[in-house]
């Protein structure tokens, strides 16, 4: 256990903030699952079990727009990161509810698929691993631009079987053209129903960075302290050395793959409960405070759902919006396609 050495580094106030964001994330995800069950959204996929890793990650992002800030190329289990960056429950739930007010996709995309220009969050697609091909592009611009902005890309364990993961290793370590990129693999040991160990002969996924001369690390992403420290270390390295770092975080997948597999709670270690034990033991939070945190966010989530129910769905004619960047082109395209 490295915890004892790592724990002192995190200020109690920060621990409280992390806990708050972890609970916030869990509550918005659980509310989405309920929306799905209630028929208020068709499909859920999200991140229960990744909060101990994702929240520390989100809090350490250098948030802003343009190459001076961090670019993010994310997979669909990034709600902890987005919540930690300041994403709102309402925005996430609007996407789940397919409302016209969904600021990420106007009712077009699955939940937890963001696109946030102000925070350099690139548009997300559920195509596994393609983000690992796109991320080197923003990092390349950052290499040229200078400063300490970096690119962060994340994805799952199973997806590393796609050649795109290897491409990312190649493109980030071109001799003399290395790029400032934090490459993350979130290893929950499964791709849908297929367990990692049945398909991958590697001991650690992160080891695949080694022949490319890359710094790598494997961590227990269920542990807030270990996550914080590893992210801190990796980010410092990438920000200053302007070279890639490959970080593998082991996490739980608490509600199975998605609503397609039922989204029922499974018996794996729950990082929030673990963290709460610590907070109690270290007397940073009381039982009552913890309970209140959960209640506040549950209430907030419910209030958001109430709110979004009053909001309009998209309209049929909306499909013609935004094929091209200017309306004249969209009109032309409509004429050809209608």
């Amino acid at each position: 256990m490295q915890k004892s050495t790592l724990r002192p580094r995190l200020e109690p106030a920060l621990q409280v903030r992390i806990h708050d964001l972890m609970v916030k994330t869990r509550c918005v995800e659980e509310r989405m699952i309920k929306m799905n069950r209630d028929g208020e959204g068709f499909f859920w996929i999200g991140a229960p079990g990744e909060e101990a890793f994702g929240v520390p990650l989100g809090l350490q992002v250098k948030k802003g727009q343009g190459p001076d800030f961090d670019y993010l190329h994310l997979h669909y289990r990034s709600s902890p990161l987005i919540m930690a960056m300041g994403g709102t429950m309402l925005d996430s739930l609007r996407q789940m509810g397919m409302r016209a007010t969904d600021r990420y996709s106007a009712g077009r995309n699955f939940t937890n698929h963001y696109a946030i220009p102000e925070w350099n969050v690139a548009p997300m697609a559920p195509t596994i691993e393609t983000q690992y091909l796109i991320a080197p592009g923003t990092a390349w611009v950052q290499r040229r631009h200078g400063g300490d902005g970096i690119t962060i890309v994340n994805g799952g364990d199973a997806g590393t079987a796609e050649g795109d993961f290897a491409s990312c290793l190649i493109w980030s370590t071109r001799p003399g053209k290395e790029i400032p990129m934090l490459i993350i693999v979130v290893n929950n040991k499964f791709g849908i129903s297929t367990s990692h160990g049945t398909q991958h002969g590697v001991r650690n996924i992160a080891d695949r960075g080694i022949p490319h001369g890359m710094q790598t690390k494997v961590i227990n992403g269920n542990d807030v302290f270990e996550s914080w420290a590893a992210i801190d270390e990796a980010m410092r390295y990438v920000r200053t050395e302007r070279r890639p770092f490959l970080l593998e975080a082991h996490v739980s997948r608490l509600n199975g793959h998605s609503s397609s597999s039922g989204a029922n709670r499974v018996d794996e270690l729950d990082c929030i409960l673990e963290f709460e034990k610590q907070l109690l033991a270290d007397k940073i939070r009381t039982e009552a405070e913890i309970k209140a945190t959960w209640e506040r966010w549950r209430d907030e989530a419910n209030a958001c759902v109430k709110q979004l129910r009053t909001e309009p769905f998209p309209e049929a004619s909306d499909i013609w919006k935004w094929t091209f960047h200017n309306d004249a082109d969209n009109t032309l395209a409509k004429a050809g396609g209608d």
């Binding site: 068709f42 499909f43 397919m98 409302r99 996709s105 106007a106 009712g107 077009r108 995309n109 699955f110 697609a125 559920p126 195509t127 596994i128 691993e129 199973a158 997806g159 079987a161 796609e162 050649g163 791709g191 849908i192 129903s193 297929t194 049945t198 398909q199 991958h200 397609s260 769905f313 998209p314 309209e315 049929a316 004619s317 909306d318 499909i319 013609w320 094929t323 395209a333 409509k334 050809g336 396609g337 209608d338």
Partner: protein, 351 residues
């Protein structure tokens, strides 16, 4: 009655037993899941692959080279677009080697919208796939045709793309699969994996028999005299519904289920259009460079003087995706009302 997923599963079981199928594989195709739509549950030769579509198509190619008979699945056709070069290589192997190698393999993949799949689980693949020479391409719209077309695909010595209309995989037909027990609960007990622990479960396959829907043969689903509708997949059912409504208005629709997209049954189209002199081609792929446009072009070139009305295409809208909100999906993909409207217009426009 068996649903389409069960029908495909039974055809594959038949293939394992009688047609030399050696590998049914893909992402989550093997135990415990047996495919995200359960179409491969309990199959003897099924196995899970790495999450790597390019590897899957390559593996199928290699197995076929070494004398195996693979059935590879791409979990959703939305995820097949990183393999187009490989599909072209497969389609090219026989031609490029001057007939030295043929690749008897089947790739199957769910296509189309209809399950609220949003941008990346709603794609169609008919247009790009029919543009790749060297493949046969089929798409059933009933469980019995799924069974018969899969068996035909497994017997074929060419690569066959078997498209599964996603929205129909859980729907039942009204014809029994040869060998299927009368009671669908009995069937379920025999071949559906139980909930919970499946590690010791084994299916009991009915006494399945050979039944082939020949590749290249369309089906006249409904005879009619005023206008022909040529379609496939789930739009067959919607066109049928539209035709039923139009019948009440005195408009008689002849409905062709193409079943094989390539090489397609042009005789069936020709015969029908010669009779009705009016035709609508219907599918849900996007509108620009759409397979229906090929059929329309050929029909126009060959039957121009026999047409009493402009031949029409009703297709998906030419936008980058199908949106999640139902109103967006419905606006993107032809609905029954749209089909009715276009058939009515085409049937009634003065000659």
């Amino acid at each position: 009655m068996a649903n389409m997923a069960q029908a495909i599963r039974m055809a594959l079981a038949y293939g394992e037993k009688h047609l030399g199928v050696t590998d049914v594989f893909g992402e989550d195709v093997g135990p415990p899941l047996g495919g995200v739509f359960t179409a491969t549950q309990g199959l003897r030769t099924s196995w899970n692959s790495p999450l790597d579509e390019r590897g899957i198509i390559g593996m199928a190619y290699g197995i076929a080279v070494a004398g195996g008979k693979p059935v590879a699945e791409i979990q959703f056709c939305d995820y097949i677009f990183n393999t187009i070069d490989l599909l072209k290589l497969v389609g090219n192997a026989h031609w490029g080697s001057a007939g030295k190698f043929n690749l008897p393999l089947v790739v199957m993949t769910p296509v189309g919208a209809g399950i609220h799949g949003s941008i990346y689980h709603s794609h169609s693949f008919d247009s790009i796939m029919t543009h790749i020479p060297g493949w046969k391409v089929v798409m059933p719209c009933t469980p019995i045709d799924a069974y018969g077309l899969m068996i035909a695909a497994l017997k074929d010595t060419n690569p066959v793309m078997f498209m599964k209309p996603k929205a129909l995989l859980r729907t039942k037909g009204d014809e029994r699969i040869p060998g299927e027990p009368e009671d669908e609960k009995v069937l379920k007990d025999m071949i559906d994996a139980p909930l919970g622990d499946r590690s010791n479960w084994k299916p009991r396959w009915p006494e399945l028999t050979d039944y082939t829907v020949p590749i290249g043969k369309a089906k006249i689903v409904r005879e009619g005299t005023h206008v022909t509708c040529v379609t496939y997949g789930r739009h067959v059912h919607w066109a049928k519904a539209a035709a039923d409504t139009l019948a009440n208005e005195g408009i008689s629709v002849e409905l062709i289920d193409l079943r094989t997209l390539y090489p397609y049954d042009f005789d069936a189209i020709k015969t029908s259009v010669r009779k009705t002199r009016r035709v609508v081609f219907l599918n849900e792929d996007t509108a620009v460079t759409n397979f229906g446009e090929h059929l329309l072009r050929r029909t126009t070139e060959e039957l121009f003087y026999e047409l009493d009305a402009p031949p029409r295409l009703l297709s998906g809208k030419n936008v980058p995706g199908v949106g999640l909100a139902p109103v967006l999906e419905d606006a993107s993909v032809p609905q029954i009302a749209d089909i009715e409207k276009m058939l009515r217009e085409t049937a009634t426009v003065p000659a």
